[in-house]
Amino acid sequence: MSKTRHVVARVDDVPPGTRKKIAVAGRDIALFNLGGAFFALGDKCPHESGSLCAGKVVGLAEADEPGRYRLSRDGEFVKCSWHGWEFGIRTGQSWCDPANTRARAYEAGVERGAALVKGPYVADTFPVAVEQDYIVIDL
């Protein structure tokens, strides 16, 4: 099945460290900017469909033994806004149950407006200008 390229936001709309909830072809998607790279997860926790976009963005809490706390990969995980389940923003993979629980992940990227206007693309909500950078999602 061929995918359609959707232009979902201007890069300036989602600065590093922020996220934005968008609607694409009838689906709610949580769009994250991790240090300039964009990642898109279905905004629906696989547990009970809570919003991931409304959740806290956190690092990975780890310990080699009791009492030895450390935080790594800060900003790379989101906790569901309902029950706090953690998902890797890059992959949608659940930390607690990687084998069976995964948030839907979509390919997200950045395209220059000049490239996009050659098409094909879908931009429902705003016009695409040649001189701007845009976040695109394929689905």
């Binding site: 033994e65 706090g84 953690e86």
Partner: protein
């Protein structure tokens, strides 16, 4: 290690039990009849102290094992004289011969383990372990025992494990489920460290030091409440052991819950797993779902087994826990949970029976696989 020695090796659980296959009893009680019984095992200082202070006249029965409560002694397992559990001949007849178990692991619950005086507790626990070796283990080769520990001071308790570890007939060390602190607290880690080092599981038996109420927000009024609430204490112990990271710190440690009632565990673990997923960053050393950790490290003896009459839910329990390795047969002699030899909450023809009756015990207590002395 005597492994590989060319002797006639009698291993625990050889020979068929009344259930048709070999069995190990992982919780049979032996009881200190009176303080006088341990006086010969005290040194001169303590013997004189006990006489001068009148301590030799005390009972030191644990309140949570009240000798006159019906549950503490089945009518046919009460000796003509003295407390249930004090008579070696009756233990032989009821458990070793009566059930045909090849080996029984003796649990000695005793007030000496929970004295407020840490030194006195250490001294009397050492004395009672000497008494167990001399009065029980030396006289009955099918018997093994769990070390009695001075629980108020885990450093002294660990010393007692070290002192006793050379006697391979001591196969575990006993704690109470409701002691000074939640079981998994680092305060107790010297005990876990010593037990792991010597290849012994820690047996956690129902019972309280009564330094805290059995119910979380205060003392109830009746034995009824206290006895039923022991199961809640086992839930607390499960939470504490996993959350405090005992099994992360001591990866080879096994804990045996004795007289827990067993069937509270699945619901506890569903709640534990579910909540862990939301807040697991608090306890990052808990790297797997609590249920998986419990499955690997906690074992439970089968009497009492809380279920509707005759329901035989043991198979269900194993399905819910995804494990046939967790349950260890026990008679809980002389406690009154069943009549006759109806101690196995399982069809003896079930493929699970062999595991529950013997194999799980052999995996849990490494010392049981050694040749008898």
């Amino acid at each position: 290690m005597a492994q590989g020695a060319e002797t006639t090796v009698v291993r625990a659980g050889d020979g068929a039990s009344v259930f048709g296959s070999p069995a190990v009893d992982c919780d049979a009680h032996i009881v200190v009849p009176s303080i006088k019984a341990i006086m010969p095992y005290l040194d001169a200082y303590w013997r004189q102290q006990f006489l001068n202070r009148g301590i030799d006249k005390l009972s030191w029965s644990l309140t949570s094992e009240a000798p006159n409560a019906p549950i503490s002694g089945r009518p046919d397992w009460r000796p003509a004289q003295g407390k249930p559990g004090t008579d070696l001949a009756m233990l032989r007849a009821a458990v070793l011969d009566g059930f045909g178990v090849q080996t029984a692991i003796a649990t000695c619950l005793w007030g000496g383990a929970v004295l407020h005086s840490e030194d006195m507790s250490a001294v009397v626990c050492a004395a009672v372990n000497d008494w167990i070796a001399a009065e029980w283990l030396d006289k009955e080769p099918r018997l093994r025992a769990s070390i009695v520990l001075p629980l108020g001071n885990p450093d002294l308790a660990a010393e007692e494990i070290e002192r006793r570890a050379g006697d391979r007939r001591f196969v575990s060390a006993t704690m109470l489920v409701a002691g000074e602190t939640p079981l998994g607290k680092r305060h107790n880690w010297p005990i876990f460290r010593a037990a792991e080092k010597h290849g012994m599981p820690v047996a956690v038996h129902a019972g309280s030091a009564y330094h805290h109420p059995m119910m979380a927000n205060g003392y109830g009024s009746y034995f009824l409440e206290d006895y039923v609430a022991q199961a809640f204490a086992f839930e607390s112990a499960t939470l504490s052991l996993v959350s405090e990271g005992v099994f992360a710190k001591f990866p080879n440690l096994k804990i045996v819950f004795q007289e827990s009632g067993v069937t509270w565990l699945p619901a506890c673990l569903w709640r534990f797993n579910k909540t862990w997923r939301g807040v697991r960053a608090e306890v990052p050393w808990v790297k797997r779902p609590p249920k998986d950790i419990v499955r690997d490290h906690i074992r439970l003896t089968t009497q009492p087994f809380d279920e509707p009459d005759g329901a035989r839910r043991l198979e269900r329990f194993c399905e819910m826990l995804d494990s046939d390795r967790m349950l260890l047969f026990s008679t809980d002699y002389p406690h009154w949970h069943y009549e006759g030899t109806d101690a196995l909450p399982l069809d003896p023809a079930s493929p699970l029976a062999r595991r529950v009756l013997r194999d799980n015990a052999m995996e849990t207590y490494p010392r049981l696989t050694e040749a008898t002395p």
